[in-house]
Protein backbone atom coordinates (compact mmCIF):
# COMPACT_ATOMS: atom_id res chain seq x y z
CA UNK A 1 0.00 0.00 0.00
CA UNK A 2 2.88 2.33 0.89
CA UNK A 3 4.46 1.62 -2.46
CA UNK A 4 1.21 2.33 -4.24
CA UNK A 5 0.87 5.68 -2.47
CA UNK A 6 4.45 6.56 -3.42
CA UNK A 7 3.70 5.62 -6.98
CA UNK A 8 0.46 7.63 -6.99
CA UNK A 9 2.34 10.62 -5.58
CA UNK A 10 4.97 10.30 -8.32
CA UNK A 11 2.28 10.38 -11.04
CA UNK A 12 0.49 13.35 -9.43
CA UNK A 13 3.76 15.24 -9.06
CA UNK A 14 4.71 14.57 -12.67
CA UNK A 15 1.32 15.67 -13.99
CA UNK A 16 1.24 18.75 -11.78
CA UNK A 17 4.62 19.89 -13.10
CA UNK A 18 3.62 19.22 -16.70
CA UNK A 19 0.30 21.06 -16.26
CA UNK A 20 1.86 24.10 -14.60
CA UNK A 21 4.65 24.26 -17.18
CA UNK A 22 1.98 25.64 -19.54
CA UNK A 23 1.43 28.71 -17.37
CA UNK A 24 -1.02 30.58 -19.60
CA UNK A 25 -3.18 27.53 -20.22
CA UNK A 26 -3.12 26.68 -16.51
CA UNK A 27 -4.39 30.14 -15.59
CA UNK A 28 -6.94 30.07 -18.40
CA UNK A 29 -8.36 26.72 -17.32
CA UNK A 30 -8.82 27.89 -13.76
CA UNK A 31 -10.65 31.07 -14.75
CA UNK A 32 -12.52 30.12 -17.93
CA UNK A 33 -15.41 28.70 -15.90
CA UNK A 34 -16.50 32.26 -15.17
CA UNK A 35 -18.06 32.68 -18.60
CA UNK A 36 -20.04 29.44 -18.31
CA UNK A 37 -21.29 30.43 -14.87
CA UNK A 38 -22.31 33.86 -16.18
CA UNK A 39 -24.10 32.26 -19.14
CA UNK A 40 -26.14 29.97 -16.93
CA UNK A 41 -26.85 32.78 -14.49
CA UNK A 42 -28.55 34.83 -17.18
CA UNK A 43 -30.33 31.76 -18.56
CA UNK A 44 -31.56 31.02 -15.05
CA UNK A 45 -33.17 34.47 -14.90
CA UNK A 46 -35.16 33.44 -17.93
CA UNK A 47 -35.94 29.99 -16.55
CA UNK A 48 -36.87 31.00 -13.03
CA UNK A 49 -40.59 30.34 -12.69
CA UNK A 50 -43.07 28.76 -10.35
CA UNK A 51 -43.01 25.61 -12.45
CA UNK A 52 -39.24 25.26 -12.35
CA UNK A 53 -39.13 25.99 -8.62
CA UNK A 54 -41.68 23.24 -8.08
CA UNK A 55 -39.60 20.76 -10.09
CA UNK A 56 -36.49 21.27 -8.00
CA UNK A 57 -38.15 21.84 -4.67
CA UNK A 58 -36.73 18.61 -3.26
CA UNK A 59 -33.34 20.35 -3.27
CA UNK A 60 -34.74 23.41 -1.45
CA UNK A 61 -33.03 25.54 -4.06
CA UNK A 62 -33.41 27.91 -6.99
CA UNK A 63 -32.65 26.98 -10.62
CA UNK A 64 -29.34 28.82 -10.79
CA UNK A 65 -27.95 27.00 -7.75
CA UNK A 66 -29.33 23.75 -9.19
CA UNK A 67 -27.71 24.22 -12.58
CA UNK A 68 -24.48 25.56 -11.07
CA UNK A 69 -23.90 22.20 -9.41
CA UNK A 70 -24.77 20.48 -12.68
CA UNK A 71 -22.31 22.62 -14.65
CA UNK A 72 -19.51 22.16 -12.13
CA UNK A 73 -20.11 18.42 -11.81
CA UNK A 74 -20.36 17.86 -15.57
CA UNK A 75 -17.05 19.62 -16.16
CA UNK A 76 -15.46 17.64 -13.36
CA UNK A 77 -16.80 14.27 -14.44
CA UNK A 78 -16.32 14.70 -18.18
CA UNK A 79 -12.79 15.98 -17.88
CA UNK A 80 -11.99 13.40 -15.21
CA UNK A 81 -13.28 10.67 -17.49
CA UNK A 82 -11.50 11.95 -20.58
CA UNK A 83 -8.38 12.17 -18.40
CA UNK A 84 -7.99 8.38 -18.74
CA UNK A 85 -7.91 8.57 -22.50
CA UNK A 86 -6.04 11.88 -22.72
CA UNK A 87 -3.18 10.66 -20.54
CA UNK A 88 -2.96 7.43 -22.47
CA UNK A 89 -2.94 9.12 -25.84
CA UNK A 90 -0.43 11.71 -24.66
CA UNK A 91 1.84 8.87 -23.54
CA UNK A 92 1.47 7.22 -26.94
CA UNK A 93 2.14 10.36 -28.96
CA UNK A 94 4.93 11.60 -26.68
CA UNK A 95 6.56 8.18 -26.78
CA UNK A 96 6.76 7.88 -23.01
CA UNK A 97 4.13 5.13 -22.70
CA UNK A 98 6.37 2.27 -23.81
CA UNK A 99 9.11 3.36 -21.44
CA UNK A 100 6.60 3.50 -18.58
CA UNK A 101 5.39 0.00 -19.44
CA UNK A 102 9.00 -1.25 -19.43
CA UNK A 103 9.28 -0.30 -15.74
CA UNK A 104 8.34 -2.71 -12.94
CA UNK A 105 4.83 -1.36 -12.39
CA UNK A 106 1.58 -3.28 -12.78
CA UNK A 107 0.08 -2.16 -16.12
CA UNK A 108 -3.30 -1.41 -14.55
CA UNK A 109 -1.69 1.27 -12.36
CA UNK A 110 -0.17 2.86 -15.44
CA UNK A 111 -3.70 3.35 -16.72
CA UNK A 112 -5.32 4.34 -13.43
CA UNK A 113 -2.81 6.49 -11.57
CA UNK A 114 -2.41 9.31 -14.13
CA UNK A 115 -6.11 10.04 -13.61
CA UNK A 116 -5.66 11.09 -10.01
CA UNK A 117 -4.28 14.42 -11.13
CA UNK A 118 -7.00 14.75 -13.79
CA UNK A 119 -9.73 14.29 -11.17
CA UNK A 120 -7.96 16.52 -8.66
CA UNK A 121 -7.43 19.35 -11.14
CA UNK A 122 -10.99 19.11 -12.40
CA UNK A 123 -12.26 19.12 -8.80
CA UNK A 124 -10.30 22.32 -8.23
CA UNK A 125 -11.84 23.86 -11.34
CA UNK A 126 -15.31 22.74 -10.24
CA UNK A 127 -14.71 24.27 -6.82
CA UNK A 128 -13.74 27.57 -8.46
CA UNK A 129 -16.87 27.47 -10.65
CA UNK A 130 -19.07 26.92 -7.60
CA UNK A 131 -17.21 29.57 -5.60
CA UNK A 132 -17.69 32.11 -8.42
CA UNK A 133 -21.37 31.19 -8.60
CA UNK A 134 -21.75 31.86 -4.92
CA UNK A 135 -19.53 34.92 -4.63
CA UNK A 136 -20.42 36.72 -7.87
CA UNK A 137 -23.90 35.52 -8.81
CA UNK A 138 -25.41 34.73 -5.42
CA UNK A 139 -25.94 30.97 -5.64
CA UNK A 140 -27.25 29.59 -2.39
CA UNK A 141 -25.08 26.94 -0.74
CA UNK A 142 -25.81 28.01 2.80
CA UNK A 143 -26.93 24.50 3.81
CA UNK A 144 -24.03 22.66 2.13
CA UNK A 145 -22.78 19.50 3.80
CA UNK A 146 -19.23 19.36 2.43
CA UNK A 147 -18.23 16.20 4.26
CA UNK A 148 -20.94 14.08 2.63
CA UNK A 149 -20.36 15.89 -0.63
CA UNK A 150 -16.76 14.65 -0.51
CA UNK A 151 -18.05 11.11 0.07
CA UNK A 152 -20.31 11.39 -2.98
CA UNK A 153 -17.37 12.67 -5.02
CA UNK A 154 -15.23 9.70 -3.96
CA UNK A 155 -17.94 7.17 -4.83
CA UNK A 156 -18.53 8.97 -8.12
CA UNK A 157 -14.86 8.88 -9.05
CA UNK A 158 -14.76 5.15 -8.33
CA UNK A 159 -17.79 4.44 -10.49
CA UNK A 160 -16.53 6.72 -13.25
CA UNK A 161 -13.24 4.84 -13.25
CA UNK A 162 -15.22 2.00 -14.79
CA UNK A 163 -15.99 4.18 -17.81
CA UNK A 164 -12.47 5.58 -17.82
CA UNK A 165 -10.84 2.17 -17.87
CA UNK A 166 -13.20 0.92 -20.57
CA UNK A 167 -12.41 4.01 -22.67
CA UNK A 168 -8.68 3.52 -22.14
CA UNK A 169 -9.00 -0.17 -23.08
CA UNK A 170 -10.69 0.74 -26.36
CA UNK A 171 -8.05 3.37 -27.13
CA UNK A 172 -5.30 0.88 -26.32
CA UNK A 173 -6.55 -1.34 -29.13
CA UNK A 174 -8.13 0.98 -31.72
CA UNK A 175 -5.89 4.02 -30.92
CA UNK A 176 -8.53 6.62 -31.80
CA UNK A 177 -12.26 6.96 -31.30
CA UNK A 178 -13.80 6.70 -27.87
CA UNK A 179 -17.49 5.77 -28.03
CA UNK A 180 -17.84 5.59 -24.24
CA UNK A 181 -16.79 9.18 -23.73
CA UNK A 182 -19.11 10.34 -26.50
CA UNK A 183 -22.02 8.38 -25.01
CA UNK A 184 -21.21 9.68 -21.54
CA UNK A 185 -21.23 13.30 -22.67
CA UNK A 186 -24.59 12.88 -24.39
CA UNK A 187 -26.09 10.94 -21.47
CA UNK A 188 -24.92 13.47 -18.86
CA UNK A 189 -26.18 16.44 -20.79
CA UNK A 190 -29.48 15.03 -21.86
CA UNK A 191 -30.60 12.26 -19.54
CA UNK A 192 -28.80 12.31 -16.21
CA UNK A 193 -30.01 15.70 -15.04
CA UNK A 194 -26.99 17.93 -15.46
CA UNK A 195 -28.97 20.98 -16.57
CA UNK A 196 -32.57 20.15 -15.75
CA UNK A 197 -34.36 17.73 -13.42
CA UNK A 198 -34.89 14.22 -14.77
CA UNK A 199 -38.56 14.60 -13.87
CA UNK A 200 -38.92 16.63 -17.10
CA UNK A 201 -38.00 13.64 -19.24
CA UNK A 202 -40.63 11.41 -20.83
CA UNK A 203 -41.21 8.37 -18.66
CA UNK A 204 -39.29 5.92 -20.90
CA UNK A 205 -36.24 8.22 -20.92
CA UNK A 206 -36.63 8.73 -17.18
CA UNK A 207 -36.30 4.95 -16.91
CA UNK A 208 -33.01 5.12 -18.78
CA UNK A 209 -31.85 7.85 -16.39
CA UNK A 210 -32.44 5.50 -13.49
CA UNK A 211 -29.85 3.00 -14.71
CA UNK A 212 -27.11 5.60 -15.27
CA UNK A 213 -24.67 6.15 -12.39
CA UNK A 214 -24.30 9.81 -13.33
CA UNK A 215 -27.94 10.43 -12.40
CA UNK A 216 -27.14 9.36 -8.84
CA UNK A 217 -23.91 11.36 -8.84
CA UNK A 218 -25.77 14.58 -9.73
CA UNK A 219 -28.50 13.76 -7.25
CA UNK A 220 -26.09 13.07 -4.41
CA UNK A 221 -24.07 16.21 -5.08
CA UNK A 222 -27.17 18.42 -5.11
CA UNK A 223 -28.66 16.82 -2.03
CA UNK A 224 -25.48 17.46 -0.04
CA UNK A 225 -24.54 20.86 -1.44
CA UNK A 226 -27.97 22.44 -1.83
CA UNK A 227 -30.15 20.69 0.76
CA UNK A 228 -27.44 19.83 3.31
CA UNK A 229 -28.29 16.13 3.06
CA UNK A 230 -26.39 13.46 4.98
CA UNK A 231 -26.32 9.69 4.87
CA UNK A 232 -30.10 9.15 5.18
CA UNK A 233 -30.73 11.36 2.15
CA UNK A 234 -27.89 10.14 -0.06
CA UNK A 235 -27.73 6.52 1.11
CA UNK A 236 -29.53 5.24 -1.98
CA UNK A 237 -27.32 7.29 -4.32
CA UNK A 238 -24.17 5.99 -2.63
CA UNK A 239 -25.45 2.43 -2.75
CA UNK A 240 -26.10 2.63 -6.49
CA UNK A 241 -22.69 4.19 -7.16
CA UNK A 242 -20.97 1.59 -4.95
CA UNK A 243 -22.91 -1.26 -6.56
CA UNK A 244 -22.01 -0.01 -10.01
CA UNK A 245 -18.33 0.14 -9.00
CA UNK A 246 -18.39 -3.33 -7.47
CA UNK A 247 -19.84 -4.86 -10.61
CA UNK A 248 -18.17 -2.62 -13.16
CA UNK A 249 -14.62 -2.30 -11.88
CA UNK A 250 -13.66 -5.99 -12.14
CA UNK A 251 -15.08 -6.05 -15.66
CA UNK A 252 -13.24 -2.85 -16.60
CA UNK A 253 -9.98 -4.17 -15.12
CA UNK A 254 -10.41 -7.40 -17.08
CA UNK A 255 -11.03 -5.37 -20.24
CA UNK A 256 -7.90 -3.30 -19.57
CA UNK A 257 -5.81 -6.46 -19.08
CA UNK A 258 -7.15 -7.88 -22.31
CA UNK A 259 -6.43 -4.63 -24.18
CA UNK A 260 -2.87 -4.39 -22.88
CA UNK A 261 -2.25 -8.05 -23.74
CA UNK A 262 -3.68 -7.52 -27.19
CA UNK A 263 -1.50 -4.43 -27.78
CA UNK A 264 1.55 -6.41 -26.66
CA UNK A 265 0.70 -9.30 -28.96
CA UNK A 266 0.16 -6.92 -31.88
CA UNK A 267 3.29 -4.95 -30.95
CA UNK A 268 1.28 -1.73 -30.87
CA UNK A 269 1.66 -0.62 -27.26
CA UNK A 270 3.24 2.70 -28.17
CA UNK A 271 1.59 3.08 -31.58
CA UNK A 272 -0.87 5.93 -32.00
Amino acid sequence: MGNLLQLAFAFVRRDFHIETSYKFNFALQLTAGFFVVALFYFLSLLMDSEASRKLIQRFHSDYFSFVLIGVAATGFLQAGLSGFVDRLRTGMTEGSLEMTFSCPVRPIWILLLPCIWAFFFEALKAFIVVAMGVAVFGANLSHANFLWCAVVVLFTITSYSVFGLLSASIIMVVKRGDPINVAFTAASSLIAGAYFPVELLPSWLGGVAKILPMTYAYDGLRKTLLAGGGLPEIGQDLAVLAGFSLVGLPLAIAAAHYAIGRAKRDGTLGVF
Binding site: N3, Q6, L7, F9, A10, R13, R14, H17, I18, S21, Y22, E94, G95, S96, E98, M99, T100, F101, S102, C103, P104, V105, R106, G261, K264, R265, D266, G267, L269, G270
Partner: protein
Protein backbone atom coordinates in the same frame (compact mmCIF):
# COMPACT_ATOMS: atom_id res chain seq x y z
CA UNK B 1 37.62 -7.20 -22.81
CA UNK B 2 35.42 -7.42 -19.70
CA UNK B 3 35.37 -9.81 -16.78
CA UNK B 4 32.97 -12.64 -17.43
CA UNK B 5 31.57 -15.22 -15.05
CA UNK B 6 29.53 -18.21 -16.06
CA UNK B 7 26.12 -17.08 -14.75
CA UNK B 8 23.55 -16.79 -17.50
CA UNK B 9 21.69 -13.49 -17.16
CA UNK B 10 19.64 -13.57 -20.31
CA UNK B 11 18.38 -16.66 -22.05
CA UNK B 12 16.49 -16.48 -25.32
CA UNK B 13 15.18 -19.80 -26.55
CA UNK B 14 13.41 -20.32 -29.89
CA UNK B 15 11.78 -16.90 -29.74
CA UNK B 16 9.62 -16.21 -32.76
CA UNK B 17 7.39 -13.27 -33.60
CA UNK B 18 5.20 -12.31 -36.52
CA UNK B 19 2.99 -9.27 -36.70
CA UNK B 20 -0.48 -9.35 -38.19
CA UNK B 21 -0.76 -7.26 -41.34
CA UNK B 22 -4.42 -7.12 -42.25
CA UNK B 23 -6.12 -4.03 -43.57
CA UNK B 24 -9.70 -3.01 -42.83
CA UNK B 25 -10.64 -4.12 -46.34
CA UNK B 26 -9.12 -7.57 -45.71
CA UNK B 27 -11.17 -7.81 -42.52
CA UNK B 28 -14.38 -6.70 -44.22
CA UNK B 29 -13.84 -9.16 -47.07
CA UNK B 30 -13.09 -11.94 -44.60
CA UNK B 31 -9.65 -12.56 -46.03
CA UNK B 32 -7.35 -14.65 -43.84
CA UNK B 33 -4.88 -12.83 -41.63
CA UNK B 34 -1.51 -12.15 -43.18
CA UNK B 35 1.60 -12.02 -41.06
CA UNK B 36 4.97 -10.32 -41.38
CA UNK B 37 7.78 -12.30 -39.83
CA UNK B 38 9.90 -10.19 -37.45
CA UNK B 39 11.81 -12.98 -35.73
CA UNK B 40 12.43 -16.59 -36.70
CA UNK B 41 13.37 -18.98 -33.93
CA UNK B 42 16.05 -16.94 -32.19
CA UNK B 43 18.15 -18.51 -29.44
CA UNK B 44 21.16 -17.24 -27.51
CA UNK B 45 22.43 -16.68 -24.00
CA UNK B 46 24.22 -13.76 -22.37
CA UNK B 47 26.61 -14.47 -19.51
CA UNK B 48 27.09 -12.05 -16.66
CA UNK B 49 29.61 -9.32 -17.46
CA UNK B 50 29.48 -9.80 -21.23
CA UNK B 51 28.95 -6.91 -23.58
CA UNK B 52 27.26 -8.36 -26.63
CA UNK B 53 26.43 -6.56 -29.83
CA UNK B 54 23.15 -7.36 -31.53
CA UNK B 55 24.28 -6.37 -34.98
CA UNK B 56 21.99 -6.15 -37.96
CA UNK B 57 20.62 -3.86 -40.64
CA UNK B 58 17.39 -1.91 -40.23
CA UNK B 59 14.40 -4.21 -39.99
CA UNK B 60 16.48 -7.13 -38.75
CA UNK B 61 14.30 -7.61 -35.67
CA UNK B 62 16.62 -6.04 -33.07
CA UNK B 63 14.02 -3.73 -31.53
CA UNK B 64 11.35 -6.44 -31.61
CA UNK B 65 13.66 -8.75 -29.69
CA UNK B 66 14.48 -6.08 -27.10
CA UNK B 67 10.77 -5.25 -26.74
CA UNK B 68 10.04 -8.91 -26.10
CA UNK B 69 12.72 -9.04 -23.39
CA UNK B 70 11.19 -5.91 -21.76
CA UNK B 71 7.67 -7.38 -22.07
CA UNK B 72 6.53 -4.58 -24.36
CA UNK B 73 5.79 -7.11 -27.08
CA UNK B 74 4.69 -10.72 -26.62
CA UNK B 75 6.50 -13.47 -28.52
CA UNK B 76 4.51 -16.05 -30.47
CA UNK B 77 6.77 -18.85 -29.39
CA UNK B 78 9.79 -19.69 -27.29
CA UNK B 79 10.87 -18.45 -23.90
CA UNK B 80 12.76 -15.54 -22.40
CA UNK B 81 14.34 -15.55 -18.96
CA UNK B 82 16.04 -12.56 -17.37
CA UNK B 83 18.22 -13.45 -14.37
CA UNK B 84 16.26 -16.70 -14.14
CA UNK B 85 12.89 -14.91 -14.18
CA UNK B 86 10.49 -15.80 -16.99
CA UNK B 87 9.11 -13.06 -19.22
CA UNK B 88 6.18 -12.51 -19.35
CA UNK B 89 5.44 -14.90 -16.45
CA UNK B 90 7.28 -12.83 -13.85
CA UNK B 91 7.68 -9.59 -15.79
CA UNK B 92 7.64 -7.17 -12.87
CA UNK B 93 10.59 -8.81 -11.12
CA UNK B 94 12.36 -9.35 -14.44
CA UNK B 95 11.92 -5.67 -15.37
CA UNK B 96 13.69 -4.69 -12.12
CA UNK B 97 16.79 -6.42 -13.52
CA UNK B 98 16.69 -4.47 -16.79
CA UNK B 99 17.99 -1.03 -17.68
CA UNK B 100 16.49 -0.08 -21.03
CA UNK B 101 17.89 2.55 -23.36
CA UNK B 102 15.50 3.11 -26.21
CA UNK B 103 16.44 4.48 -29.58
CA UNK B 104 13.52 6.87 -29.18
CA UNK B 105 14.36 10.32 -27.73
CA UNK B 106 10.68 10.84 -27.13
CA UNK B 107 10.59 8.49 -24.17
CA UNK B 108 10.97 11.38 -21.72
CA UNK B 109 8.49 14.04 -20.66
CA UNK B 110 9.49 17.05 -22.70
CA UNK B 111 8.00 19.68 -20.39
CA UNK B 112 9.81 18.35 -17.32
CA UNK B 113 13.40 19.04 -16.50
CA UNK B 114 15.96 16.25 -16.42
CA UNK B 115 15.90 15.93 -12.65
CA UNK B 116 12.10 15.53 -12.48
CA UNK B 117 12.17 13.06 -15.36
CA UNK B 118 14.69 10.89 -13.54
CA UNK B 119 12.85 11.21 -10.22
CA UNK B 120 9.65 9.99 -11.87
CA UNK B 121 11.34 6.96 -13.41
CA UNK B 122 13.12 6.24 -10.11
CA UNK B 123 9.71 6.20 -8.43
CA UNK B 124 8.52 3.71 -11.05
CA UNK B 125 11.48 1.56 -10.02
CA UNK B 126 10.04 1.57 -6.50
CA UNK B 127 12.20 4.16 -4.73
CA UNK B 128 10.66 6.50 -2.14
CA UNK B 129 10.78 10.19 -3.05
CA UNK B 130 13.92 11.04 -1.05
CA UNK B 131 15.86 8.06 -2.42
CA UNK B 132 14.60 8.77 -5.94
CA UNK B 133 15.91 12.34 -5.63
CA UNK B 134 19.28 11.18 -4.28
CA UNK B 135 19.76 8.61 -7.05
CA UNK B 136 18.67 11.05 -9.74
CA UNK B 137 21.22 13.62 -8.56
CA UNK B 138 23.91 10.94 -8.49
CA UNK B 139 23.12 9.88 -12.06
CA UNK B 140 23.03 13.46 -13.32
CA UNK B 141 26.53 13.98 -11.97
CA UNK B 142 27.75 10.64 -13.28
CA UNK B 143 26.54 11.34 -16.80
CA UNK B 144 27.76 14.95 -16.91
CA UNK B 145 24.32 16.51 -16.78
CA UNK B 146 24.42 18.15 -13.34
CA UNK B 147 24.78 21.65 -14.77
CA UNK B 148 21.70 21.18 -16.96
CA UNK B 149 19.66 19.19 -14.43
CA UNK B 150 16.98 21.86 -14.07
CA UNK B 151 16.58 22.58 -17.75
CA UNK B 152 13.47 21.22 -19.51
CA UNK B 153 14.17 18.10 -21.52
CA UNK B 154 13.08 19.76 -24.77
CA UNK B 155 16.01 22.17 -24.53
CA UNK B 156 18.54 19.34 -24.51
CA UNK B 157 20.83 18.56 -27.44
CA UNK B 158 20.70 15.10 -29.03
CA UNK B 159 23.83 14.04 -27.14
CA UNK B 160 22.43 15.22 -23.80
CA UNK B 161 19.18 13.34 -24.44
CA UNK B 162 21.14 10.17 -25.06
CA UNK B 163 23.16 10.68 -21.88
CA UNK B 164 19.96 11.20 -19.91
CA UNK B 165 18.69 7.94 -21.40
CA UNK B 166 21.80 6.22 -20.08
CA UNK B 167 21.36 7.87 -16.67
CA UNK B 168 17.80 6.53 -16.51
CA UNK B 169 18.96 3.03 -17.42
CA UNK B 170 21.57 3.05 -14.64
CA UNK B 171 19.19 4.56 -12.01
CA UNK B 172 18.25 1.29 -10.32
CA UNK B 173 21.59 -0.44 -10.81
CA UNK B 174 20.15 -3.16 -13.08
CA UNK B 175 21.90 -6.45 -13.75
CA UNK B 176 21.48 -6.16 -17.49
CA UNK B 177 21.38 -3.22 -19.87
CA UNK B 178 19.43 -3.38 -23.11
CA UNK B 179 20.57 -0.60 -25.41
CA UNK B 180 18.69 -0.11 -28.63
CA UNK B 181 20.81 1.89 -31.07
CA UNK B 182 21.78 4.49 -28.46
CA UNK B 183 24.02 6.39 -30.87
CA UNK B 184 21.27 6.76 -33.44
CA UNK B 185 21.08 10.35 -34.69
CA UNK B 186 24.33 11.48 -33.10
CA UNK B 187 27.16 13.15 -34.97
CA UNK B 188 30.62 11.56 -34.99
CA UNK B 189 31.91 13.51 -32.00
CA UNK B 190 28.87 12.87 -29.83
CA UNK B 191 28.92 9.20 -30.81
CA UNK B 192 32.55 9.01 -29.78
CA UNK B 193 31.81 10.67 -26.43
CA UNK B 194 28.84 8.44 -25.74
CA UNK B 195 30.73 5.26 -26.60
CA UNK B 196 33.55 6.30 -24.29
CA UNK B 197 31.09 7.08 -21.49
CA UNK B 198 29.31 3.76 -21.90
CA UNK B 199 32.61 1.89 -22.07
CA UNK B 200 33.79 3.46 -18.82
CA UNK B 201 30.49 3.00 -16.99
CA UNK B 202 29.94 -0.55 -18.17
CA UNK B 203 33.51 -1.50 -17.34
CA UNK B 204 33.32 0.14 -13.90
CA UNK B 205 30.02 -1.51 -13.02
CA UNK B 206 30.71 -4.87 -14.68
CA UNK B 207 27.36 -4.72 -16.42
CA UNK B 208 25.92 -7.24 -18.83
CA UNK B 209 24.94 -5.42 -21.96
CA UNK B 210 23.00 -6.20 -25.12
CA UNK B 211 23.95 -3.41 -27.53
CA UNK B 212 21.73 -3.29 -30.61
CA UNK B 213 23.34 -1.51 -33.52
CA UNK B 214 23.83 -1.55 -37.27
CA UNK B 215 27.34 -0.10 -36.99
CA UNK B 216 30.27 -2.52 -36.96
CA UNK B 217 32.73 0.11 -35.69
CA UNK B 218 30.76 0.31 -32.40
CA UNK B 219 31.11 -3.43 -32.02
CA UNK B 220 34.87 -3.27 -32.13
CA UNK B 221 34.98 -0.35 -29.68
CA UNK B 222 32.68 -1.73 -27.07
CA UNK B 223 31.75 -5.37 -27.28
CA UNK B 224 33.31 -8.76 -26.66
CA UNK B 225 30.59 -10.87 -28.31
CA UNK B 226 28.58 -10.39 -31.47
CA UNK B 227 25.21 -11.73 -32.58
CA UNK B 228 24.39 -10.94 -36.19
CA UNK B 229 20.65 -10.76 -36.77
CA UNK B 230 19.35 -10.54 -40.32
CA UNK B 231 15.71 -10.86 -41.33
CA UNK B 232 14.85 -12.12 -37.86
CA UNK B 233 17.41 -14.94 -37.95
CA UNK B 234 20.71 -15.28 -36.10
CA UNK B 235 23.43 -15.63 -38.73
CA UNK B 236 26.41 -15.44 -36.49
CA UNK B 237 27.13 -15.68 -32.79
CA UNK B 238 30.70 -15.47 -31.62
CA UNK B 239 33.48 -13.29 -30.33
CA UNK B 240 34.45 -9.92 -31.77
CA UNK B 241 37.72 -11.43 -33.01
CA UNK B 242 35.83 -14.13 -34.87
CA UNK B 243 33.55 -11.53 -36.37
CA UNK B 244 36.57 -9.43 -37.36
CA UNK B 245 37.87 -12.52 -39.17
CA UNK B 246 34.73 -12.58 -41.27
CA UNK B 247 35.05 -8.89 -42.06
CA UNK B 248 38.64 -9.51 -43.07
CA UNK B 249 37.62 -12.24 -45.45
CA UNK B 250 35.21 -9.75 -46.91
CA UNK B 251 37.92 -7.18 -47.66
CA UNK B 252 37.42 -5.73 -51.08
CA UNK B 253 40.00 -4.90 -53.73
CA UNK B 254 40.13 -2.76 -56.83
CA UNK B 255 42.60 -3.59 -59.61
CA UNK B 256 43.32 -1.38 -62.57
CA UNK B 257 44.63 -3.23 -65.60
CA UNK B 258 45.79 -1.94 -68.96
CA UNK B 259 43.67 -3.51 -71.67
CA UNK B 260 44.81 -3.26 -75.29
CA UNK B 261 42.14 -2.46 -77.90
CA UNK B 262 42.38 -5.97 -79.36
CA UNK B 263 41.58 -7.52 -75.95
CA UNK B 264 38.72 -5.17 -75.22
CA UNK B 265 35.98 -7.59 -76.28
CA UNK B 266 37.25 -10.57 -74.31
CA UNK B 267 38.09 -8.72 -71.11
CA UNK B 268 34.59 -8.52 -69.50
CA UNK B 269 34.18 -12.29 -69.88
CA UNK B 270 37.60 -12.88 -68.28
CA UNK B 271 36.73 -10.57 -65.37
CA UNK B 272 33.42 -12.35 -64.83
CA UNK B 273 35.11 -15.75 -64.86
CA UNK B 274 37.36 -14.54 -62.03
CA UNK B 275 34.35 -13.30 -60.03
CA UNK B 276 35.18 -9.65 -60.63
CA UNK B 277 32.96 -6.73 -61.35
CA UNK B 278 34.22 -4.62 -64.25
CA UNK B 279 33.83 -0.85 -64.36
CA UNK B 280 34.08 1.34 -67.46
CA UNK B 281 37.17 1.40 -69.65
CA UNK B 282 39.12 4.66 -69.53
CA UNK B 283 40.28 6.46 -72.65
CA UNK B 284 43.92 5.61 -71.89
CA UNK B 285 43.12 1.86 -71.84
CA UNK B 286 42.95 1.50 -68.04
CA UNK B 287 40.12 -0.70 -66.83
CA UNK B 288 39.07 -1.02 -63.18
CA UNK B 289 37.74 -4.29 -61.78
CA UNK B 290 36.66 -4.97 -58.21
CA UNK B 291 36.21 -8.06 -56.12
CA UNK B 292 35.99 -9.41 -52.59
CA UNK B 293 38.35 -11.81 -50.85
CA UNK B 294 41.40 -12.40 -48.71
CA UNK B 295 45.06 -12.24 -49.80
CA UNK B 296 44.94 -15.70 -51.36
CA UNK B 297 42.00 -14.74 -53.53
CA UNK B 298 43.70 -11.47 -54.53
CA UNK B 299 46.93 -13.31 -55.43
CA UNK B 300 45.00 -15.82 -57.52
CA UNK B 301 43.20 -13.04 -59.38
CA UNK B 302 46.43 -11.16 -60.04
CA UNK B 303 48.14 -14.33 -61.29
CA UNK B 304 45.24 -14.99 -63.66
CA UNK B 305 45.30 -11.44 -65.03
CA UNK B 306 49.06 -11.41 -65.50
CA UNK B 307 48.93 -14.91 -66.99
CA UNK B 308 46.41 -13.58 -69.53
CA UNK B 309 49.03 -11.09 -70.71
CA UNK B 310 47.48 -8.07 -69.07
CA UNK B 311 49.45 -5.33 -67.34
CA UNK B 312 48.39 -4.40 -63.79
CA UNK B 313 48.61 -0.67 -63.10
CA UNK B 314 47.31 -0.40 -59.57
CA UNK B 315 45.94 -2.52 -56.71
CA UNK B 316 43.91 -1.13 -53.78
CA UNK B 317 42.48 -2.91 -50.73
CA UNK B 318 39.36 -1.54 -49.10
CA UNK B 319 36.97 -2.83 -46.44
CA UNK B 320 33.72 -4.16 -47.76
CA UNK B 321 30.72 -2.14 -46.57
CA UNK B 322 28.94 -3.94 -43.74
CA UNK B 323 25.70 -4.26 -45.67
CA UNK B 324 27.54 -6.32 -48.27
CA UNK B 325 28.89 -8.57 -45.51
CA UNK B 326 25.35 -8.89 -44.17
CA UNK B 327 24.10 -9.66 -47.66
CA UNK B 328 26.70 -12.37 -48.07
CA UNK B 329 25.88 -13.90 -44.67
CA UNK B 330 22.21 -13.85 -45.59
CA UNK B 331 22.90 -15.50 -48.94
CA UNK B 332 25.28 -18.18 -47.74
CA UNK B 333 23.98 -18.72 -44.23
CA UNK B 334 27.54 -19.14 -42.99
CA UNK B 335 30.47 -17.06 -41.98
CA UNK B 336 31.63 -16.24 -45.45
CA UNK B 337 34.23 -17.40 -47.96
CA UNK B 338 37.44 -18.97 -46.82
CA UNK B 339 38.13 -21.38 -43.97
CA UNK B 340 35.59 -21.29 -41.15
CA UNK B 341 37.09 -20.89 -37.70
CA UNK B 342 36.34 -23.72 -35.32
CA UNK B 343 34.98 -21.46 -32.60
CA UNK B 344 32.59 -19.61 -34.88
CA UNK B 345 28.99 -20.65 -34.47
CA UNK B 346 26.59 -20.28 -37.32
CA UNK B 347 23.09 -20.68 -36.00
CA UNK B 348 21.21 -19.82 -39.10
CA UNK B 349 18.84 -22.18 -40.87
Amino acid sequence: MFAVNSKTLLKIEDVGKSFPARSLIDTLLGRPKRYTKALGLVSFELKAGQVTALLGPNGAGKTTLINIICDLTRADSGSVTVAGLPVPGDSIRAQRQIGYVTTNDRSFFWRLNARRNLEFFAALQGYPAAEAARRSTEMLVRFNLAAAADRPFHTYSAGMKKRLGLARAFLHDPAILLMDEPTNGLDARSTEELLELVRLEVRAAGKTVLWATHRADEVERLCDRVIVLIGGEVYFHGSVDEFAGISKRHMGFVIEVLVQPEDEKQFPALAASLGLEAGARKADGGWGVSGVGDEAKLSAVLAALLGGGLLVRQVERQPEPLHKVFAHLEKTGNTGPGPETAATTSLAN
